[in-house]
Amino acid sequence: MTAKDIIHMNELDHSRFKSWGFSQDFCVTCGLCSSSCPATGIDGFDPRKLIRMLSLGLESEVVASRWPWICTLCAKCENVCPMEIDIADAVRRVRSLRDRDKVPGNIHKGLEAALETGNNLRLPKDDYVFILEDVAEEIAEEPGYEGFTVPIDKKGANILTTIHNKLVNTHTEDLKHWWRIFHAAKEDWTVPSENWEGTNWAYFTGDDEAMKIMTGRIVDHMNKLEVKTLMWPE
């Protein structure tokens, strides 16, 4: 949106987002948020404008704008907001109002893949297990790591881990760091063979229902594998 765009007074609807509990109506337009935000100025964005649009109920404008997707939800703005407005959560909520097929880039597509197949990559179980075992064999060849194996679906393990999808995609070397540490520390750990996705892109798309499903799968693993501890994925 630019200054040239005209807002018609009859489109204002102060009650539109009244039920949202982000204190958006308390904004005193001080601009501290905008001063602190590294994204201020990108494509005309700044958090004060976005919060004011919510307060004025300019729904179609704010949902269609690119702004909520330029913001990184970093919360620097709300850290300085004198009215304690939950700016990042408000931005995330605006994202949830976008038609799912208009969510930019791969975030919704990745999430859809995860909901359908258990991971963002649609990586079949056999390929996934092959990658893990292949990397484990490489570690076992290093001095000090003889006999290393990857304990997939180990019942009763102390620690359950998940996998960030990029580590079984383009960054398999980065699987090794934690595995080496577990080996050296003689940890009793495990990793699931299915629904192993450690990222939760529902957080980014604003989709609370999907977030519940994704986190629920981790709960299922903990129950089924009877692990003692979860290492938080992120």
Binding site: G105, K166, I181, A185, W232, E234
Partner: protein, 167 residues
């Protein structure tokens, strides 16, 4: 962050039944219990550390504890010579790769977003940047060329620990 929020909202009962550890708690435990031994002389530095929004400022707000001291303690067990960014902790500047921006195709915006962070890092003179977050790691590697900082080595905190281990 997403998982813990999801549990608190939808599955609060798990907190009675299971234990939970962050990457920081676990590394500190291994080091303090002597289960892993680290050699501080392998990396001369100077290194620096970036506070991810989710482990720091946002965790402080949502869970009442930001992980600021823990990663710095771990870093100190690995490298003598490291310098904090300014500003850091609660006033830290986001890398620009958070909130899904790494995969939402807004690449130009995301690269521009990182300019202040890259200035901060450059000001320390550090050759190694340590991060405990997959998004930050991806973002820094993705944008460092655009800021003429291709020589910057971006390292996971646990990668640094693994590389310093005496086995």
């Amino acid at each position: 962050m997403a998982t813990r929020s999801g549990f608190e909202k939808h599955y609060p009962e798990v907190f009675e039944k299971f234990e939970f550890v962050t990457v920081f708690d676990l590394l500190i435990k291994y080091i303090k219990e002597g289960r892993i031994k680290l050699d501080k002389t392998r990396f001369k530095g100077p290194a620096t550390y970036h506070d991810p929004c989710n482990y720091g400022r946002k965790a402080q707000k949502v869970f009442g504890h930001g992980y600021f001291d823990e990663p710095r303690w771990i870093l100190s067990q690995c490298v003598e010579n490291w310098i904090d960014l300014y500003p850091a902790t609660m006033n830290q500047i986001c890398c620009g790769g958070g909130g899904g921006t790494l995969v939402n195709s807004y690449n130009e915006e995301r690269t521009y977003y990182g300019r202040r962070k890259m200035d901060q890092i450059r000001a320390t003179g550090a050759g190694m940047l340590v991060v405990p977050c997959h998004s930050c790691h991806g973002q820094f590697n993705s944008i460092k060329k655009a800021y003429d900082m291709e020589g910057l080595e971006v390292k996971y905190l646990w990668e640094l620990v693994a590389d310093c281990m005496i086995v």
